[in-house]
């Protein structure tokens, strides 16, 4: 662990990334203290440019505080990113583990299934799903999860396949351990490193996907999210650039930071690559 932290700390980008991610989490956590009003509330005249001490990132077309929107939006973006990633991980890890461990016909079936989902254009599938089941937090999270699990399955399966033939797993077999013990104690902990890296990138991707859906008008109408704010601000971009620029920056920074964290994790967990950087 210490070694891992040291390896991670060597990567300056990763440090910056984790700081930004923590900052975003902090903003999300403190949103209701800093902005003790609903982000939907009108706090001033519409289209106030940034700089006003009460509305330091300006106001939108209904006089709502853009800064408050970004703070509360961080919650939604992170929530959607985290929950959809968690769901995708559950599905992906389970299927990948089964495929990699069982091999044979079951593996084949699972991989065809996975391939199918990987072939289908994911953004279009997400749109179709959200459109058909009408936009809500649940449908958005599910749609994002549905389109983002296949890489997890592939990675986990590959790990399981390689670990299965690793000698310590064979030793466990020879010692007479049950399948469950072998999967949970011997294989899974050793297969997690790439999944952790993937997860951080998936959160980033989920945030991007959500913003794309919101941009097309498929966001949850009761939740303020960055994607929604850009969607609402893009049509008035010439009138009020700050309405879409700031949430856009928020997405950019968060996604960038998550990617940096992912890279840092990848390097730290895979020292062979890190050395070459």
């Amino acid at each position: 662990m210490k070694l891992f932290l040291r390896a991670y700390a060597r990567n300056k980008g990763a440090i910056a990334g984790i700081i930004v991610v923590l900052l975003v989490c902090l903003i999300a956590a403190l949103a209701s203290w800093v902005f003790p009003y609903s982000p939907w509330d009108m706090q001033g005249a519409p289209f106030q440019p940034p700089g006003d001490p009460d509305l330091w990132l300006g106001s939108d077309s209904l006089g709502r505080d853009v800064a408050a929107g970004i703070a509360y939006g961080a919650r939604v973006s992170l929530l959607i990113g985290a929950v959809s990633t968690a769901a995708a991980l559950c599905l992906g890890v389970t299927l990948g583990a089964i495929a990699g461990y069982a091999s044979g016909a079951l593996d084949d079936a699972i991989m065809r299934f996975t391939e199918f989902f990987q072939t289908v254009p994911s953004f279009i599938l997400a749109i179709v799903l959200v459109a058909i089941f009408s936009p809500s937090l649940g449908s958005i999270v599910s749609a994002i999860a549905v389109v983002s699990w296949p890489p997890v399955t592939r990675v986990v399966r590959a790990e399981f396949l390689s670990l299965r033939s690793r000698e310590f797993v064979q030793a466990a077999e020879v010692l007479g351990h049950s399948h469950t013990t072998i999967i949970w104690r011997e294989i899974l902990p050793n297969a997690l490193a790439p999944v952790i890296v993937l997860a951080s990138l998936m959160v980033a991707n989920a945030i991007l996907l959500e913003s794309g859906l919101s941009f097309l008008g498929l966001g949850d109408p009761n939740l303020i999210s960055w994607g929604y704010m850009i969607g609402a601000g893009r049509s008035v971009i010439r009138l009020a650039w700050w309405m879409s620029v700031f949430p856009g920056l928020a997405i950019f920074l968060t996604v960038l930071a998550l990617n940096l964290v992912g890279e840092g994790l990848g390097d730290a967990l895979n020292p062979r690559l890190a050395r070459r950087r």
């Binding site: 609903s38 939907w40 509330d41 209904l62 009408s134 008008g217 109408p221 609402a232 049509s235 009138l239």
Partner: protein, 529 residues
């Protein structure tokens, strides 16, 4: 003064000076021929034959391809189009239309009384629910000669003449449609009408191209060689197209309200807000009276007090339009400014009314929760629903937004499956045509654009019935005044705004908006100079 019927008695014989005229600018130089008008059509219509489809974009483009018997002035007085004159019998049941000579369809066939009768009694009667309601009153339709049409009604119907513009009753060629399935007739893909422009090509998703019809019945018109409707789904791209001069004309909801002030300031552009008097669309918060506590008059009044209509007009619509004062738009006939007054913006009064209704706030300050089904027609309507949520939140009513698509929205409204929603309806010039339907108990149906909210007041029913059945304008005016007073008090729907749709065009484009048909008109007189 909206005494339509009497005036039209003289229409056929009257000299031009006495007649209401197309409001053409008198000072401009003589029109010039030639040029291509690039404009915008959004969203892309499914089909360009009126009747088969009556959506807004269809009306815009098909209005150039087809014509009606009449058109209307800004004050909703009839003007000749395919009918050069008309008269009404003394029993107010028989209308006689004299048709223009030399009118040809785009395929070269002459247009005669047969085509008119076919269009009225067959084509639109079958296809259009709105036309069916009115045209089914026609007892007999005859043509004494190829240029005369006589329609006899079962009973007098005062607003009858408002049903003959191109959007309500476009004249279609009988020789093409008779005996076919109108909806799937191949001509729907290549429309044939009598309009000043004829259909050339339609690249789906890209543009529709119309060209001048050489055998148009008004000599020397149209002036333009071509009209191209560009299909641009993104509002910013549309604004940009206008800004860069790629299109010279935008209409309806092409340009989002917030962009209007910017275009108003441009010296080369003209923003016109009239031309929608016929439609006179009124927007409101649609209320389902079956949902408690919305059936309580005090609650509706409270909500009405909680809404700042000026904010809606100025901040959401950027001042485009007017604050609504009641169920009848100020541009519609029989609007009575003396009685049409709505609850003023006063949150405290709203709270008091809610308290009186026994709806006390709970620990979180919430009195009750209702759902709002947002109208899926674009951003500004979403903003409106968001404003509704915020405004009601301030008086302790929690609003949960639901979004849906246009189809499902219509279905849910039709199925009464909503608590509140947003809606806007056209009034078609006369309350009997466009207002009555939303408030009378006889029209509580599981169909969109009926009295889906389920409002019932026998007095209101009676007053609307009186107005409908009477041929006497004074009787009708009295009934409508009374009904306005009642409705303004009971607020069955929360009227918000009289919508206006800006028509923006380059100043070098002349005579664009000349009638109440606005940009739906045929544009035969439009020219570039």
């Amino acid at each position: 003064m909206h005494d339509l019927t009497r005036r039209t008695l003289f229409a056929g014989a009257a000299a031009a000076g006495l007649l209401p005229t197309i409001s053409r600018a008198q000072t401009t130089p003589a029109p010039k021929h030639g040029g291509t008008l690039n404009t915008i059509l959004t969203p892309e219509p499914p089909i360009l034959v009126l009747g088969v489809n009556n959506q807004g974009p269809t009306q815009l483009a098909a209005g150039k391809l087809f014509e009606g018997l009449l058109q209307y002035t800004f004050k909703l007085e009839p003007l000749p189009q395919l009918a050069k004159s008309w008269s009404l019998s003394d029993d107010k049941k028989t209308y006689t239309f004299k048709l223009q000579d030399n009118v040809k369809f785009h395929d070269g066939q002459p247009m005669t009384a047969d085509d008119v009768i076919f269009s009225i009694t067959k084509f639109h009667l079958e296809l259009s629910p709105r036309a069916r309601l009115i045209f089914s009153m026609i007892k007999e339709a005859t043509s004494p000669d190829p240029h005369t049409v006589v329609l006899t009604l079962a009973q007098p119907f005062d607003p009858f003449l408002l049903m003959f513009d191109v959007t309500a009753c476009a004249i279609v060629p009988r020789h093409i449609y008779a005996g076919t399935d109108y909806r799937t007739n191949p001509a729907n893909q290549h429309p044939i009408g009598t309009g000043p422009f004829q259909f050339v090509e339609w690249q789906r998703g890209n543009f529709i191209r119309l060209k001048k019809f050489d055998q148009y019945w008004t000599a020397g018109e149209p002036y333009l060689d071509e009209i191209i409707y560009n299909i641009i789904p993104d509002s910013q791209s549309r604004a940009l197209a206008l800004e860069t001069g790629k299109v010279q004309l935008t209409q309806a909801n092409d340009i989002e309200p917030f962009d209007i002030p910017r275009f108003k300031a441009k010296p080369n552009l003209e923003v016109e807000l009239h031309g929608w008097e016929y439609a006179s669309q009124l927007s409101w918060i649609e209320i389902n009276h079956r949902v408690k506590p919305l059936d309580d008059i005090r609650v509706r009044q409270a909500i009405s007090h909680a809404l700042d209509r000026n904010f809606i007009l100025n901040k959401l619509w950027f001042g485009i339009g007017k604050v609504a004062t009641g169920p009848i738009a100020s541009t519609t006939r029989f609007y009575d400014p003396k009685v049409a007054k709505l609850q003023a913006y006063d949150p405290n009064k709203a709270k008091a009314l809610l308290d009186a209704a026994g709806l006390k706030p709970n620990a979180k300050g919430v009195r009750f929760t209702i759902k709002q089904l947002a109208l899926p027609y674009g951003e500004v309507w979403t903003r409106l629903s968001e404003y509704f949520r915020t405004a009601l939140g301030h008086v302790g009513i929690e609003v949960v937004l639901e979004t849906t698509d246009a189809g499902a929205w219509a279905k849910r409204i039709g199925d009464w499956d909503y608590e509140t929603s947003t809606n806007f309806l056209s009034q078609f010039g006369d309350p009997t045509l466009g207002v009555e339907r939303s408030y009378v108990s006889t029209n509580i149906k599981k169909i969109t654009f009926t009295n889906t909210g389920g409002y019932t007041n026998p007095k209101v029913d009676d007053l609307f019935a009186t107005a409908r059945q009477s041929g006497d304008s004074a009787v009708r005016a009295k009934a409508f005044s009374d009904v306005q007073a009642i409705l303004c008090d009971e607020v069955p729907q929360l009227w918000l705004m009289e919508l206006a749709w800006p028509t923006i065009h380059e100043k070098k484009l002349h005579d664009v908006i000349t009638t109440a048909m606005g940009p739906n008109a045929g544009f035969s007189g439009v020219w570039i100079g």
